[in-house]
């Protein structure tokens, strides 16, 4: 109890509803009057370490903060590096990147939905979403050779071609997911318990969302139709027809619905990409011809590539670039300054969760403590992402 009669409650970091952070909540009765997020429990100094690593070595490094959406984190960094190096990946690689990014988005959304469900006390939602996430992880594992940290894109292209059975497997997965969506609708989306917990809770108005610089599905659930894939198309998004999921309500329920809608939209995007994907090389000509012929022979027929030796000595010219991609959680931006040496001079990596931190902080006061987990979960806030 403080002097004013408020109770100060500390949640986390050891707490099922806190994730990797501590939250200081000032309560008047059970109404939150002030909220201070104490972040930094996962601050691993990515930006400093990035200055000591080669351009190629930073690929896995930047995936770690956004581990559950690493495909998109990877893409944001690679776009920046390619702008610096002035390399254009071949069209097939662009499509493969799109497929990877969308699979990653689906997995990220399912993760978010699972966590939101467990926070509002629905174990079913957690089990369903995480169980279905395994299917998309299985698909990404086929493509990249890893479960979570794909490191799939490299400057000038991608590391692997599409495996033979991928189309067939994805077709099945899409059909499964569409059928399953109907069940999701009954068991989670329209479940009166979910609606009671989420509808009208944590309303983020359009003006406030813009003012606080909210990103991702949280922004779109507040009626702002902003999606980097449309605004500044990267990879193969220009050739693909899709819709931005937007809702006007701005409450927790709208955010959940936007995520579900985006999953269905992503399935459509991948289907189109698989249809339109051109044949050809997966690595830019410039690097392709630097690979030693005997090394090329080793991976013949496997769909994989060998790295050219130049990758350990990539020296982009002096200059600076800014790249942005739309990840599952929102916009990732990378600001990269090169001074001509093989290591970045400065790498600024702004993650969606870091930008949503302000929204999170400002949105909580005024709500009841019981609504706190619902709002926290609905923002899909991922502390390692925010802390970097």
């Amino acid at each position: 109890m403080s002097e004013e009669g408020y109770m100060l409650l500390q949640i986390g970091p050891q707490h099922p509803g806190s994730g990797h952070m501590r939250m200081l909540v000032k309560l008047d009765g059970d109404v939150i009057v002030d909220f201070i997020p104490d972040v930094g429990y996962v601050h691993r100094t990515v930006e400093k370490i990035a200055e000591t690593k080669l351009y190629i070595q930073n690929i896995p490094l930047l995936e770690k903060p956004i581990l559950n959406d690493s495909g998109n984190a990877n893409l944001a960094y690679i776009i920046a590096v390619e702008k610096l190096l002035d390399v254009e990946p071949p069209p097939r690689a662009q499509y493969l990147r799109t497929i990877m990014a969308e699979l990653s988005r689906i997995a990220s959304h399912l993760y978010g939905i699972g966590i939101l469900s467990i926070l509002i006390g629905s174990s079913t939602g957690f089990m369903w979403a995480f169980g279905d996430r395994e299917i998309f992880i299985h698909l990404m594992q086929m493509m990249s050779g890893a479960r979570i940290t794909y490191s799939y894109m490299v400057p000038g292209g991608v590391r692997r071609d599409l495996p033979d059975q991928f189309r067939e497997e994805f077709r099945k997965a899409a059909r499964y997911m569409r059928r399953r969506y109907k069940d999701y609708e009954k068991i989670i989306i329209k479940n009166p318990v979910t609606r009671a917990r989420l509808e009208g809770v944590g309303v983020l108005s359009r003006e406030k969302a813009i003012e606080w610089g909210t990103v991702g599905p949280n922004l779109r659930a507040s009626g702002v139709a902003y999606d980097v894939r449309k605004v500044e198309p990267y990879a193969a998004y220009e050739d693909i027809d899709f819709e931005i999921a937007v809702r006007e309500e701005g409450d927790c329920y709208a955010r959940l619905l936007v995520r579900f809608q985006e999953i269905m939209e992503s399935l459509k995007i991948i289907e189109q990409a698989l249809e339109k994907i051109p044949n050809g090389k997966i690595l830019a000509e410039k690097y392709e011809k630097m690979i030693q012929p005997r090394a090329k022979k080793l991976v013949e027929g496997t769909g994989r590539i060998k790295f050219p030796a130049i990758y350990v000595n990539l020296k982009p010219p002096k200059g600076e670039v800014f790249s942005r991609v739309e990840s599952g959680k929102g916009e990732i931006t990378v600001y990269l300054v090169s001074n001509g040496s093989p290591k970045p001079y400065r790498l600024r990596f702004v993650t969606p969760s870091f930008r949503n931190l302000l929204t999170f902080k400002n949105l909580i006061p005024g709500h009841r403590l019981a609504d706190f987990p619902a709002i926290y979960g609905s923002l899909d806030y991922f502390p390692p992402g925010a802390d970097r």
Binding site: H43, K48, I49, I210, Y226, R355, L357
Partner: protein
């Protein structure tokens, strides 16, 4: 480019405007003038800040603060990224905070303060964000803060 001209008239003599890889770069000559420019840019429709970064050029005697500004509400401005740059001397890094104009800078300016020791005047909560207490007064992203590196030999 039409937008560039519009911004040139806004900035006037207080800064330089150029285009770098598709982004409009505004180099503000004096930290004090940044508030004025930011206000006009906000009125133009640039409504949020995507990233605030510090860059350490202390070998040349200054830090650079870089704001990446864009818009959510105006679709044609959303396509553009406006890079607002201001230089502050590295021995006394001070710059006015833009929190009054763009509230979205709050956490990012705080982080820049924590990592570089750049003081944003007028920021209501300028204290450490991520780092534990022992980093009080230590600014890890400055180039003078060295971390371990290893060679390739065992």
């Amino acid at each position: 480019m039409e937008l560039k001209e519009r911004i040139e008239t806004i900035v006037g003599s207080t800064g330089e405007v150029r285009i770098d890889r598709g982004n409009i770069v505004v180099e503000v000559k004096e930290p004090k003038k940044i508030i004025e420019i930011a206000k006009k840019l906000k009125a133009e429709g640039f409504d949020h800040v995507k990233s605030v970064s510090g860059v350490d050029y202390s070998d040349q005697g200054y830090f650079e603060i870089v704001y990446h500004v864009s818009s959510y509400s105006t679709p044609e401005l959303a396509k553009a990224i406006l890079v607002l740059k201001v230089k502050v001397p590295s021995d006394n890094p001070r710059s006015p905070s833009l929190i009054e104009i763009w509230p979205s800078v709050e956490m990012m300016e705080r982080e820049t303060y924590e990592m570089y020791g750049i003081i944003f005047e007028g920021h209501p909560e300028l204290k450490r964000l991520f780092l534990p207490e022992e980093f009080e007064g230590v600014y890890p992203l400055r180039k003078s803060f060295k971390i371990k590196e290893e060679g390739i030999m065992a």
